[in-house]
């Protein structure tokens, strides 16, 4: 079996919170994530797992240490470079769905691809339909995002995260708001993405069953990997 390709390298990531007083949330965390790996970050609340996820997301740049994505150094890049990187290489799924309420589901899915500007609008629309179809939401495509149920919204946000075929999908409590049936659907989608599309999934979760079924669990406690 060939050596798996490293997609994320975190080297001694350290992070402080300054409110209410100076406090080290992440204590020189180092780990690697591989292509096609389904990774879960677990730990008690306050252990720093979400903080780590936001450092990996490139949205939080106020940390010590170095971060590499696909062997490219991310630490120190300009905000515009990071935005472009997020656009084409990283997909996000949040706990509270976070769709743009004024837009249809279809449009929500299309926006990251329109922003990337690699394909024509018609092609993007076609691909967005396919994405929604895969997630069983084709009928809801033209409804406003705010009219959907929680599980449906979560799946739309997954479709949005996948539209640009990112190397990495980051999830913050993706099933935290869902009933067990919907949680299972979401889990199956992630499993399929990592095995079939060779995309790397990193999910923060409290759900023990969800974590247990993933490829690898990284447990954090007091800002360090156990």
């Amino acid at each position: 079996m060939p050596e798996p390709e490293v997609i994320i390298t975190a080297q001694k990531i350290g992070k402080y919170f300054y409110e209410p007083e100076k406090f080290k949330v992440l204590n020189d965390v180092s780990f690697e994530a591989y292509r096609g790996e389904f990774l879960t970050l677990v730990g008690k609340s306050g252990s720093g797992k979400s903080t780590l996820l936001y450092c990996l997301s490139t949205m939080d740049t106020d940390y010590e240490g170095e971060l590499f994505i696909a062997s490219e150094k991310v630490t120190g890049q300009t905000p515009n470079q990071l935005a472009a990187l997020r656009n084409h290489s990283i997909g996000f799924v949040f706990q509270f769905h976070y769709l743009l309420p004024e837009f249809s589901c279809l449009k929500n899915v299309m926006i990251p691809a329109l922003k990337m500007g690699k394909y024509k609008a018609a092609e993007i629309e076609e691909r967005a339909y396919q994405q929604l179809d895969l997630l069983g939401l084709k009928d809801q495509a033209l409804k406003p995002a705010s009219k959907l149920s929680g599980g449906q919204q979560q799946r739309v946000s997954i479709a949005r995260a996948l539209i640009n075929e990112p190397k990495i999908v980051l999830c913050d409590e993706p099933t935290g708001n869902l009933d067990s049936k919907n949680a299972q659907i979401v889990f199956d989608i992630f499993k399929k993405l990592s095995t079939e599309n060779q995309q790397t999934i990193i999910a923060v979760t409290h759900d023990a069953d969800f974590a247990a079924a993933s490829d690898r669990i990284i447990e954090l406690a007091d800002g360090s990997i156990l």
């Binding site: 949205m59 935005a83 949040f94 743009l100 004024e102 329109l114 922003k115 500007g117």
Partner: protein, 412 residues
């Protein structure tokens, strides 16, 4: 492509908040409408009062300034000189311009002079029976003076042409005619300060819609005025000149001043009081309209600020999925500019309608219809200021939006 998606998002935001958009635009509409209306009003007034000025004033006037007698020995001559008591007084020398024909020729040859005319102004008394009125009679070269002041258009009865070669004819103002109850064809005795008495026949009555000139002024043949002044045919007190651009009269006057030792006054000097009034009016009007515009801009600023506070989540999502700060600024700036443009367009329409209706209002009196006109410059400036103000008002909140930190939003 990226620009299109920004525009797409901005349009969706605008369309889902029609009411707020309408309110913000309406503020701009009122601001721009008022700006255009007030400025057109001021410009119209300016034009009107200038027209009134040029009915009786030339762009340039060349005349002999009163001179004071100078001491024979200047006081700077030193101690050796005895001081002589002097009594500064106006020199009694005549008000005549020397060699007026040549000066007139030179003035006419200046490239910027359109018309120039000699004039003899004589202070006179108009006498009828026992009633006597003071005034001034202008000895004119009929055609040249008409070209300058368009006197023919002010005639209410008789004809200016009757003065042509007629040393006994006089054209008087309507006010004077009424006060002395004189009619066309009747005789009027005028006496000059030089003691010359002449009986003139009224051949015309004019009305310049200016009480002062209607009550005191009269026109006679240039030669008749020279007789009243007890002077010869070369006697001229004033040379009047009109130029291609009255706004540059001051500049032209300094050019003519190099040709002659006599005083050359542009109309702005002669009418300084009117012009300073106009200036004050302009400052007042501009202050009012710019404040209104500022209030409208604040309206947009407020609404955009509110929108951005409401849309913190959306901004965080957009940033997460790869929109950078500049995109966010573009999205929200586009929204304010759309609101601003809608407001400006409606404002141009409102301003135009106001002007249209007011210009149909008859005020009566000398001014006739309300002096307000369509000034393309005012519309252009209004649109420019409107877009500028709304862009600025939109930019500040948009920049705030661009600085939103998505992590703090997601972690709430």
């Amino acid at each position: 492509m990226a620009i299109n998606v920004n525009l797409d998002i901005a349009l969706t935001h605008i369309l889902t908040r029609k009411r707020q958009t309408l309110v913000a635009s309406l503020g701009v509409t009122i601001g721009i409408g008022m700006y255009i209306f007030m400025n057109s009003l001021m410009a119209g007034f300016g034009q009107y009062s200038r027209k009134e000025i040029f009915k009786t004033n030339p762009h340039l006037r060349i005349f002999r300034e009163d001179e004071r007698s100078e001491p024979i020995y200047p006081s700077s001559a030193g101690e050796k000189m005895k001081r002589v008591l002097i009594n500064p007084a106006l020199t009694t020398s005549s008000k005549a311009l020397n060699n007026p024909e040549k000066l007139l020729e030179m003035v006419r040859n200046m490239p910027f002079v359109t018309t120039a005319a000699p004039q003899v102004n004589v202070d006179v008394f108009y006498n009828k029976g026992n009633s006597q009125r003071k005034g001034i009679t202008n000895g004119i070269n009929i055609d040249a003076a008409d070209a300058m002041f368009n006197i023919r258009s002010t005639m209410v009865s008789g004809s200016l042409d009757n003065l042509q070669g007629n040393l006994d004819g006089i054209v008087i103002g309507r006010g004077l005619a009424e006060k002395l109850s004189l009619n066309l064809g009747e005789n009027l005795t005028i006496s000059s300060s030089k003691g010359v008495l002449k009986i003139m026949k009224i051949v015309g009555v004019f009305s310049a819609n200016n009480k002062n000139s209607d009550d005191t002024k009269s026109y006679i043949n240039l030669s008749a005025a020279q007789q009243l002044a007890r002077e010869g045919t070369t006697f001229v007190t004033d040379i009047y000149a009109n130029t291609i651009d009255p706004d540059r009269a001051a500049e032209f006057s300094t050019q003519i001043q190099t040709l002659t030792p006599y005083k050359v006054d542009p109309w702005q000097v002669t009418n300084a009081d009117l012009l300073s009034g106009e200036k004050i009016r302009d400052v007042m009007g501009n202050t009012v309209t710019l404040s209104i515009l500022l209030v409208a801009a604040f309206g947009i600023y407020n609404i955009m600020n509110m929108t951005i506070t409401q849309k913190m989540n959306d901004i965080a999502i957009l940033k997460a999925i790869g929109f950078n700060g500049r995109d966010i600024v573009r999205i929200f700036l586009t929204e304010s500019i759309i609101m601003g443009t809608l407001g400006v367009l409606a404002g141009l329409l409102v301003g135009g309608l106001c002007i249209h209706f007011l210009s149909k209002v008859y005020v009566g009196g000398p001014s006739g219809y309300f002096p307000i006109y369509f000034e393309p410059k005012v519309f252009g400036l209004g649109a420019f200021f409107g877009i500028l103000a709304t862009s600025l008002a939109g930019y500040l909140p948009a920049r705030k939006a661009a600085n939103v930190d998505p992590v703090t939003i997601f972690r709430r």
